[in-house]
């Protein structure tokens, strides 16, 4: 049919693509870091005996997991501004993504916590470790090691989902693509390039997580066996 693909016309804007990809990666990295922290805390919170904390964590997780990320981002971005709190789009994007991925992380981490055999915790209690010490030394790392593949997938998905941040003026990869394609009307070329970039980014993230795994799990590095 009548479509002539003209990649050079779009590729000449490679600095913009690169900038967008970099911002996407940056958003994903920051949200991953904070989200992992928030999610872990929420998972711990759901396991406490304090009904108020456990309930609050549950409401957080359920609300976020059952509503679209786009709506969450709008509500944070415009809601805060309406209250007179003005943050940059980047800050809001990181915050919204963190809140979002935190909820998923919480569920995954909870599964990890519950997969720790009861006997491990009893052994630690028998050694007079405190609750915090037990979480820190006995539960956390093995739990993460068990759910590491799921966590990795979740954070790659977060990177892909960060595309909705274009809605609030964050200039990440999808935003760049939208700009270029409406400036040049070369949608095909743009989307194909963007697809390739996203696949590369996801491979980069997976490689990063693999490397991090080597550092985090020395036992696995040495023995190569699953926990």
């Amino acid at each position: 049919m009548g479509i002539q693909l003209d990649f050079p016309a779009v590729l000449e804007r490679w600095p913009s693509f690169l900038g967008g990809a970099a911002l996407t990666l940056e958003l994903a990295a920051l949200a991953t870091m904070f989200g992992a922290l928030l999610g872990t805390l929420a998972a711990v919170g759901r396991g406490t005996h304090n009904a108020l904390i456990a309930g609050a964590c549950k409401v957080y997780v359920e609300t976020i997991r059952n509503t679209p990320l786009l709506v969450q981002i709008f509500l944070v971005y415009f809601g805060l501004a309406s209250l007179g709190l003005k943050f940059s789009a980047f800050t809001v994007a990181v915050a919204a993504l963190t809140i979002n991925v935190g909820a998923y992380t919480a569920e995954i981490m909870r599964a990890g916590f519950e997969a720790i055999p009861r006997g491990q915790i009893e052994a630690a209690e028998g050694l007079a470790l405190s609750r915090v010490q037990i979480y820190w030394h006995i539960i956390l790392l093995p739990a993460v090691e068990r759910v590491y593949p799921a966590l990795t997938s979740q954070f790659v998905l977060l990177m892909l989902a960060s595309s909705v941040c274009s809605q609030i003026s964050a200039e990440e990869l999808t935003a760049i693509a939208n700009y270029i394609q409406s400036d040049t009307y070369r949608a095909f070329e743009t989307y194909i390039i963007v697809a390739v970039l996203y696949v590369i980014l996801s491979l980069v993230m997976r490689a990063g997580f693999w490397g991090l795994g080597l550092v985090l799990f020395p036992r696995r590095r040495r023995l190569g066996t699953p926990l």
């Binding site: 990320l69 519950e114 979740q154 892909l160 194909i192």
Partner: protein, 222 residues
């Protein structure tokens, strides 16, 4: 711009919600069928089949659904295949969902303990009999919670089908908002409708998980 939210707007949103439900069903039925094939291909005795299916999974899981939908609709047309939006959306969602469900189910099948496979083998059951009578019934129990969990994500992700012209819930909300300009009211309504569709499923998946004991990990995308 202007005017107030009226019954027509709500009906319009309702239509959008119906499309969301419809697209979700298509995605799950199509994706479920192909995903099952992917799961089997991933554990195939043939190395080439294993590698090909693994590459497929990697590729699809690394690409945003929006791009898949776009290329599925306009890309096919560009090479001379005129497909309706419904066909394009169904095909794209199917490919996308299949990659994820295939992985979830492969994990479930492989997590049936090895001794169970051996016990079935030791009873002289054929490969198909082992799969159907021993492995799958156990794998289904393991797979149900993460599958239901993933369905929740699909319901939300069908919103991207607006790129091929579907006016589903999210898009209908945007259209209403563009003519009314009541963003907070409208997005709140949308959030509530999505919640009403997703939460029962979430709840159901948690029930299942609790009932059959824990230990499975949820591979749920955002």
């Amino acid at each position: 711009m202007g005017g107030h939210l009226n019954i027509n707007h709500l009906i319009f949103l309702g239509h959008g919600a119906l499309w969301t439900v419809g697209l979700s069903l298509i995605a799950l039925i199509g994706g479920g069928t192909v995903g099952f094939a992917i799961a089997l291909a991933r554990i195939s005795p043939l190395k080439s089949v294993r590698l090909a299916s693994a590459a497929y999974v990697q590729l699809v899981q690394g690409t945003p659904l929006l791009v898949i939908l776009f290329l599925g609709y306009f890309g096919l047309a560009a090479i001379g295949l005129q497909v309706s939006p419904l066909v394009a959306a169904s095909a794209s969602l199917t490919l996308y969902v299949a990659a994820y469900l295939g992985e979830i189910w492969r994990g479930s099948i492989q997590s049936v303990p090895k001794p169970q496979w051996e016990a079935a083998e030791g009873l002289a059951l054929s490969r198909t009999q082992r799969m159907l009578k021993v492995i799958l019934p156990q794998a289904i129990r393991i797979a149900t919670p993460p599958t239901v969990g993933f369905m929740v994500q699909i319901i939300k992700n069908t919103s991207l089908a607006s790129v091929v012209g579907f006016v589903e819930l999210m898009r209908s909300g945007q259209i209403v908002n563009n003519s009314l300009f009541e963003p907070f009211v409208i997005y709140a309504i949308i959030a509530v409708v999505y919640f009403a569709m997703c939460y029962p499923l979430s709840l159901f998946s948690q029930r299942l998980e609790r009932r059959m004991g824990r230990g499975r990990v949820n591979l749920a995308p955002a």
